[in-house]
Symmetry: C2
Subunit: 205 residues, 2 copies
Amino acid sequence: MTSAVEEPTPRRRGRPGKDQETVLREAIELFNLQGYDATSMGDLAARLGFTKSALYHHVPSKEHLLQQALDEALDNLSEAVAAARADSSVTALERLRRAVRGSVDVLIEHLPAVTLLLRVRGNTPAEVAALKRRRELDAQLAQLVADAAAEGGIRTDIPADLISRLLFGMVNSLAEWVRPSGRTSPDTIADALTAIAFEGLLAPL
Amino acid sequence: MTSAVEEPTPRRRGRPGKDQETVLREAIELFNLQGYDATSMGDLAARLGFTKSALYHHVPSKEHLLQQALDEALDNLSEAVAAARADSSVTALERLRRAVRGSVDVLIEHLPAVTLLLRVRGNTPAEVAALKRRRELDAQLAQLVADAAAEGGIRTDIPADLISRLLFGMVNSLAEWVRPSGRTSPDTIADALTAIAFEGLLAPL
């Protein structure tokens, strides 16, 4: 709501309605657009229509914003993979299938944050920590592939770690072209990806 | 060859053995490492052990180096796709398979140049032109998928353009992890990718 009187608390300075969540969304957008290193707090303030000092009332630092964005991506991906791994009442193949599906869903729902995560190269402590969490997640996914192979659910003529890289490479490549407003629905994309990955492209005999 | 006498032509100034090809390789490496926009000719000269003026005897501009790198990637990818499309004596499915295989081979053989191409966002005329060529190539690949579907070679329950994006998304994702000195051979990677894409992961019945 627009108000003619001064806002009473420092945290609400800047334009009305632009809260911390908005700051984070705009920051992620800008980091993806021009790169984290190339983005200054001044750039972000300008984009938000804030003064730099008003921006610092919302967030302590640029790295804090990066940390929040990477946590958003990693927390949601970890949760999806953990949920898939937890159900021991289904086959390992089904757990793998759910992990693929869950990863696609998170990628599309949290597209800007996951895109940022996928571009991280490890130049700051937040990035180094994120890369470490990403490697742990990759190891869990590779284990799901290995379990499905050991169980006889998926082919064993290709090493599990190579399957895992190719499979989740296809998942991650969605970040290059999926748009939240695109004409293909998230479900259609997730269905197509899992169908191709598990059944292959060849026409049924 | 190292020589104690002054080089007679301006093009050979700088350290001996560092020719234009070396300059291009180091430039691509640096562009991939720190981003094209963030890389200056001064950075490149420092990396090569050149003075900046010696570097300008080898290459006219930073954008010229970018152009050469993008041409290397696009010329080789175009050639591989054209070769796959040209053979009308085989099925459309086989042409598609060869296009996938050929793209993987080019990606691995020209990994730094293709990696640079895949990161291009269109900030300079060279990048805009490269994006245009990339879209033309993507259209040709989508057509190969559509032909294979029309012929009954691949499944028709997923739109051809979605298949094409997912399939070549998996191919392009190789740039994220393949290393020329890695323990998995290019052939193993290409075989695994085409097997998964066409046959799928499920264990044979």
